[in-house]
């Protein structure tokens, strides 16, 4: 079963161009409900306010990094199950493992394609639905 096309997605990246690219790709995939933040510090209050159903975050950002944001999310009882996809240029094996240990649901290395993004989103929600049933 595919993900809910109306779900609210938070895209976190310090580069506005990358946010725009992801937003456009999401729109092409049918997801129109997207909000943005430029690092972990601005993303966290948005998440805490509630209503976000999917988090897409970069790693390397000024202020709070994506990995730190992920750790905050997993430590928050209200957010701990939020599906999170990391989209980053960080490509070291130990980094990918670190993100996995912190509880990321998917990991995409930049540069990436629309097909990869769709595949990862679908896979994440397949697992979330399988796990939730």
């Amino acid at each position: 079963m595919a993900a809910d096309k109306n779900m609210k997605i938070l895209v976190v990246d310090d580069f506005s161009t990358m946010r725009r690219i992801i937003k456009n790709l999401l729109r092409e995939l049918g997801y129109n409900n997207v909000v943005e933040a430029d690092d972990g510090n601005t993303a966290l209050p948005i998440l805490q306010k509630g209503g976000i159903q999917f988090l897409i975050t970069d790693w390397n950002m000024p202020g709070m990094t994506g990995l730190e944001l992920l750790k905050h999310v997993r430590a928050d009882p209200n957010l701990k199950d939020l599906p999170t996809l990391m989209v980053t240029a960080e490509a070291k094996r130990e980094q990918i493992m670190e993100a996995a240990q912190a509880g990321v649901n998917g990991y995409i290395v930049k540069p990436f394609t629309a097909a990869t993004l769709r595949e990862k989103i679908d896979k994440i929600f397949e697992r979330v639905q399988a796990g939730g049933s």
Binding site: F15, S16, T17, R20, I21, N24, W59, N60, T65, E68, T88, A89, E90, A91, K92, R93, E94, Q95, I96, M97, A100, Y107, I108, V109, K110, F112, T116
Partner: protein
């Protein structure tokens, strides 16, 4: 630097011998011989002075040589590095502008192309119905008006889209400009590197005499490394054979599935 004065045991012996014979000559009342010994002593002293002077000159020479490199490095740190930082910031600005320019084109054109596709499909179906003689006169009149409108829209939209594609094409000029800037910065980095290598060589020579103690990693270096680990390394450079780094999304997927993902 080690002074040869300490190893001058032979010199001290020479002084002692001279002093003893001077005393002897004075006691014997031999003024001429005493004078000769004093001359020898003066000569001994002068030789040592010249040796000292030679060493001082060499130190001074090396210091001046090192200072020359420092001078260039000072120039680099005070002028060229800030300049390079500015240039690289400019590269970020330019690439950002180009990306936005291109994205604006896409956001402006995609709905128009979509509109043509949808309208074309709908009118195509109506046209097939007409061919199957399923339309009455009034319906055909409506269809032919819609076809007129559609053909006009095809012209306007496709002209606009091709203009926009041109704009997207032009937006790519940033690559040339940023490439040139980055090349200049690379040249500067190479110069800094070779200067640093020379400085290390010079200070390495100095250190050798002083027991060659390699300083442990400084606190600031450690802090910088910790910060790098926290922040990440940024994009992996293509062409660098780094076993640490995955080179494709497939490798990421393999790694994660090996971890049970």
């Amino acid at each position: 630097m080690e002074r040869e004065k300490g190893s001058g045991g032979a010199d001290l012996d020479a002084y002692r011998r001279a002093a003893e014979s001077l005393l002897q000559h004075v006691e014997q009342g031999d003024a001429e011989a005493a004078q000769g010994v004093i001359d020898d002593l003066t000569h001994l002293r002068e030789t040592e002075l010249f040796r000292e002077l030679g060493m001082l000159t060499r130190d001074l020479h090396e210091a001046i040589k090192a200072f020359n490199y420092d001078d260039r490095l000072a120039d680099i740190t005070s002028q060229e590095i800030p300049d390079a930082r500015e240039r690289l910031n400019y590269v970020i600005t330019m690439t950002e502008q180009a990306a936005h320019r291109t994205l604006t084109v896409i956001e402006g054109s995609a709905p128009l192309a979509q509109e043509l596709a949808e309208e074309g499909e709908r009118l195509g179906e109506r046209w097939q119905a007409f061919r199957r003689r399923e339309l009455d006169v009034e319906e055909f009149r409506v269809l032919s008006r819609e076809l007129d409108d559609f053909l006009a829209k095809v012209q306007t939209n496709s002209r606009y889209i091709s203009e926009q594609l041109n704009e997207a094409l032009m937006a790519q000029d940033y690559q040339d400009l940023t490439g040139q800037i980055i090349r200049k910065v690379i040249a500067l980095v190479e110069e800094v590197e070779s200067n640093l290598v020379q400085l290390v060589r010079i200070s390495g020579q100095r250190l050798e005499g002083e027991g060659e103690q390699q300083p442990a990693q400084s606190a600031s270096q450690q802090a910088a490394e910790a910060e790098r680990a926290r922040r990440g390394d940024g994009p992996a450079m293509p062409g660098r054979n780094d076993d640490d780094v995955v080179s494709s999304q497939d490798e990421v997927d393999d790694l994660l599935s090996s971890l049970g993902f």
